[in-house]
Amino acid sequence: MEILAMHMANELLSVPVAAITLLVAGGAIAVTARRAQKTLDPEWLPLMGVMGAFVFAAQMINFTLPGMPGTSGHLGGGVLLAILLGPSAAIITMASILTIQCLIFQDGGLLALGCNIINMGIVPCILGWWLYRVVSGKDAVVPAWRQYIAAWAGCLLGVTAGAALVPIESAFAGRLSIPVTHFLAVMIGVHLLIGVVEGAITFAVLAYLRQARPACLGLAAAAQKENISRKAVALSLVITALLLAGVVSWFASTKPDGLEWSYLDHKYAQAQSAIKRPSGTIDAVDELQTKYAPLPDYSARPTHMGAVGAENTDEAPSDDAWPNINGWTSLAGVVGTAVTLVAVYAVAILLGRNKRVLGSGPSLTSGRSECITTI
């Protein structure tokens, strides 16, 4: 069963944000489709559709994570597809996968489809493909370690950048009840790990294709089997760990906990708690909220806005500015991330205790994203 679906739900979005993201995603698909139709061989048309089905099948092949019995990862597929088919074909394929997941498996909301296509299709395909190209170079002979670093970096960037958009989109929608920086830190932290798993599987596939079908990768036939050096693996893991510690604490440290208590001190909050007339139902609060807040969550809390809503920065005290690097708070950030990961791990162990082999039912019908799955 999956515990960390990245598919965005309708509940995290407001209508304007959903409309904008749907328009952006639709425009991007229309442009890509036109480009693809011009440049691609007609033979590629069935290829892309069947490749979408291939991604579903590839997601069935799970990889039990070392050192974490009961937890396994599987491929997300966006970056791999972009490497193998090129970004435009990969974007169309990912968009059709996400649409099918929404309509048939009801995974990810109808209104959130635009967000999901951007977060899990367009962004990983373009960014991941770009970084992979930059690192691996265009030579016909690429050493294995360089390809490994390229796959790792591409997946890390693509997956994490896509996931980081989820909190930002829901913050703009004003649907978050938790501070956006906390959500951002958790999403980035967890998806750095997911990105590493994605990178490892992507590289494993590329390593196989180097041997079996080098033409798929635009490479010359490899002479013999090459092992990647331990140094490359160690380097990638150390950089990931540093990123995890650094970036996550950077974000997590910007806002203290207990936001809600300081919120109570605020003038609008007083206005809200002042509603004690007999008919003060939920709707009265709603009305008040819509009256005072075009962006309901963030404009009401100028000192706690984080990355979004920069229009009110004049009210923000300077020591609370974003980003805020402070020894104690960054320590708190690292500890918080570690606690979150341990909690995820504990849930994984608990859920995986009775089920040794992943059943087909729940996994097929629930989220099929870049996920850590528990078995």
């Binding site: 999956e2 997601q59 649409t99 995974d107 938790i178 490892a200 590329l206 809200q272 909220q289």
Partner: protein, 258 residues
């Protein structure tokens, strides 16, 4: 896994099945939009919105147990989202329920609101997919000017999805039976790479065969469909009723409440 599992009710016959796919698609999109437009503290105001999906499921003869199971299967992520609310949002709100009035923290209101919205949205989507064959849904999308390439991809994807998922499950079972779990991590990773890589090569070859077969059957770059959509008076009536209903739910009922 068979497409029959998800698709089994869509080929039935009922007043809902006979409606035009475009009308149903439009109605579900409008319904979801209205649902999302409610504030995150709205709970009581959402109650009348439950009528439409339940009525469509009932008229479309979709077993309630099936729909409820879909909601349950997809709920874990949403439950997590719900439970985060009460941890952070502790402002107290007055809630009136008949003659009783009590205070409740905003987080719990948000949690309840998210849960209700999630359930209703999912029921509406289930009602759509359980009363409309996927081919008709594709035809509706094609007629509403969704990029043609995307619609074609969706068609191919739907056709081969279950074939390849089955293949993936078979391969995984074979690997697990051969004791792959006890191998070292690097060996297991190499095995996963080999399996997915060969699956990729096989898929490439399969798509070439599909293309040749399509050309042999007269494919010249444009898909042909025997599905005909007809927009009848009943569909117009359906849309009018849904519009009226949504307007009442969005503006009429909340005004009545306050």
């Amino acid at each position: 896994m068979h497409h029959n599992y998800i698709d089994k009710f869509s080929h039935g016959d009922s007043p809902v099945h006979r409606l035009d796919a475009r009308a149903k698609l439009l109605a579900v999109i409008a319904y979801t939009t209205v649902l999302a437009s409610f504030s995150r503290y709205a709970v009581a105001a959402l109650v009348p919105l439950a009528v439409a999906p339940l009525a469509m499921l009932w008229l479309g003869r979709v077993p309630t147990r099936f729909a409820v199971r879909r909601v349950a299967i997809l709920s874990p992520f949403i439950v997590m989202l719900c439970l985060l609310g009460p941890l952070y949002d502790r402002n107290l709100h007055w809630v009136a329920f008949g003659p009783w009035r009590f205070m409740i923290s905003g987080g719990w209101l948000t949690a309840a609101s998210i849960a209700v919205k999630f359930t209703l949205g999912l029921l509406a989507l289930t009602a759509l997919t359980c009363t409309t064959p996927f081919a008709l849904l594709l035809e509706a999308m094609r007629r509403t000017r969704v990029p043609r390439l995307l619609v074609m991809q969706l068609g191919f994807l739907y056709r081969y999805l279950f074939v390849l998922i089955d293949e993936g499950i078979r391969i995984r079972r074979g690997r697990d039976f051969r004791g792959a779990r006890r191998a070292r991590a690097t060996r297991r990773l190499a095995a996963v790479g080999g399996i997915i890589g060969s699956l990729f090569v096989r898929t490439m070859e399969r798509s070439e065969r599909i293309h040749v077969a399509m050309c042999a059957r007269g494919y010249r770059g444009e898909p042909h469909s025997l599905n005909r959509l007809r927009f009848r008076p009943a569909d117009g009536l359906f849309l009018a009723v849904i519009t009226l209903y949504l307007v009442v739910c969005r503006w009429g009922y909340p005004a009545l409440l306050s």
